[in-house]
Structure formats: C-alpha cells, structure tokens
C-alpha cells in the first residue's frame, strides 16, 4: 500500500490508533501496553503533583518523548474557565501546544457541553493551541468546531468508558463527509471490531483507553486493536462492494452439467 500518513498541522502520525494512559495497574503496565499498541500518540491528564509522596514515579519517565507524542486532556473540566486553565497549565508544563479539549456537561454520561466546548475551542485556537475537541456525534457541531479553529474533530462513538461501540455510525459518516479536518472517533470503542468499523467508515484515527485498560489482558487487546485499526484503514482505502438485497452467485453458470 502507498504510504498513508496522517498529518495534523504539520505533525506526522505513524499510527492511527491513539491510546489513553488511564486506569492501568502501574506505569510499568502502561508502558508495556502502549508499546504493544504500536501507537505514537498518547493522552495524559493534568493533575496536582503529589506533594506528600514526592518520590512517587512520574508517568513521563515511562514514555519516551522520541517515540510518543503527548496529548494532554482537560478531563474533569465542567466549564470553559477550568478547561482554559488546564489547557494553559498543560502547555506550560512543556510537552506541546496540543490539547484534547473536554468540557463536560453531565456527570453520568460525560457528554460534552458543546456550547462551552465551542467557546473554549475558539479562545484556545486564537492562543495558538492545536485543539482536539471531544464532541458529540453531531455533524453541525463538528462543522462549528472546525470553523472555530479546531485542528480535528473528535466525535464520541458512545459515552466515555461505556464500550458500547459506534452507536450512530451514520452520523459519523455524515461528519466525515462534511469535515475538512481529520475526524477521530474518541470514546465508546469496546473491542477491536468497533475500532475496525470506525476506520472502515473513513475515520482518520481512533482514540481508545478503557477498551484496552479494562480488558482481561490489556496487552493482547492493545495488539488486537492495533491490527483492527490497520485492517479497517486498509478496507476503507480498498473501497467496499455495494450492498445488495439479493444473492449474486460467485461461481459461473457456464460449464455446469
């Protein structure tokens, strides 16, 4: 296959499987799982330094900056002000200008507050951030985010951590048709085939955490999803056959007895 690189604002990604670093047993497991995933883009959260146990290990000691691009998130932020504060702190911590922007609107579903998200996107894009907004699977909102300066749009497949898969693949398809920025499914993938479906639709990448961390064997699941993402991408590029209601024989009639 011809080289098939994903480039976002000049940053080149080798992998279309982006992986979260949350919910692993320890940093050793985090590092091993991420290695197995083949990913070169990992998300992290911004939190207070543990000042009572200052000798506790640091996540960044386990992630080689030459191998991985670090995408800090604003997880846990429920309003624009907090999301801006976390984004600016993340940038000052010095890994990059990229921010996975979350402005959460509801605790039970973790659905985004898209009004706040749009405002925060606009402000951060103006400040020079490369904004990766986590949003609903709403084609109109995705377009608005793009117009506000988002570098990509990241519609959810299903609620964060739910593992329900792509609940509305048709919306994702419409978002793909309407967007001129890359589309990354963020949240909802439960197992490898869900990731393959997202990629077969034409998504540019998928971002996954719980499907891996919550598997019985996270390393094996990371590897499974790695192949599913590659297979899905290849299938998308290959172009699927049209669906038909009735059968078409694969073997010829000619030559039958």
């Amino acid at each position: 296959m011809k080289e098939d690189k994903l480039i976002i604002q000049g940053i080149e990604f080798k992998s279309r499987f982006w992986i979260g670093t949350g919910k692993y047993k320890d940093f050793d497991e985090t590092a091993r799982v991420i290695e197995a995933s083949g990913s070169d883009m990992v998300t992290v959260a911004v939190r207070r330094v543990n000042i009572t146990d200052r000798k506790s290990p640091n996540l960044l000691d386990f992630l080689d900056p030459k191998k991985y691009k670090i995408l800090p998130n604003t997880a846990g932020c429920y309003n624009v002000e907090d999301a801006l504060r976390y984004s600016r702190l993340a940038r000052e911590a010095g890994v990059s200008d990229m921010i996975k922007l979350e402005v959460i609107g509801d605790e039970r579903t973790l659905f985004p507050d898209v009004i706040g998200l749009l405002r925060a996107t606009e402000i951060l894009a103006k400040e020079g951030f490369i904004v990766f907004p986590y949003t609903n699977d709403d084609p109109v909102m995705c377009k608005r985010l793009e117009d506000a300066g988002a570098a990509v749009v990241m519609p959810l497949g299903a609620p964060i951590g739910s593992g329900l898969g792509l609940r509305n693949p048709y919306n994702i398809k419409i978002i793909l048709e309407a967007s001129s920025v890359p589309v990354i499914v963020d949240a909802g993938v439960g197992i490898a085939s869900d990731a393959a479906v997202a990629m077969e639709l034409g998504c540019d990448a998928v971002l996954i955490n719980t499907a891996v961390a919550g598997a019985k064997d996270p390393m094996a699941m990371a590897e499974a999803i790695k192949y599913a993402v590659m297979a899905g991408r290849l299938a998308y590029k290959a172009g699927r056959m049209p669906k038909k209601l009735y059968a078409t024989a694969s073997s010829p009639i000619d030559g039958m007895l």
Binding site: T21, F27, V44, R47, R48, L89, A90
Partner: protein, 65 residues
C-alpha cells in the same frame, strides 16, 4: 512564610518559585506552576517572588484518556 501548596498548608523560608521547587525536590521541567491563579512561565521561576498567604498549584501529567 505560610503558603497553600496544592491545597495543603506549607511553610517555607524560600522566597521564589525556583527556590520552592528545589526545596520540594520537584523537577521544573515537567510541571506547571500557578501562583494565585496566574501561570508562571518557566523562564520566570527565578524571579517569581512568593508572599505570605500565596496559593500555589503545581501540576504534572498523570494517566488519563
């Protein structure tokens, strides 16, 4: 001098952000520091003076999705 660092009471004789980080054995390379809600640029740590009652937040990266 009494400070509030990451929500905890903290006493120090250090007078700058750089001094405080050094005392707390925190590598400045991978953290961000806020004093009274204002982010302090890394280049300014040496000059950023602390005052009685300052509220300081020191953040870094942890696992997340």
């Amino acid at each position: 001098m009494n400070l509030k660092v990451n929500g905890e009471d903290y006493q120090t004789l250090k007078e700058t952000v750089a001094g405080l980080l050094q005392e707390m054995e925190i590598q400045s390379g991978r953290v961000a520091v806020e004093v009274n809600l204002k982010i302090i640029k890394k280049a300014d740590y040496d000059n950023a003076r602390l005052s009685e009652g300052d509220v300081i937040e020191i953040v870094n990266f942890v696992g997340g999705g």
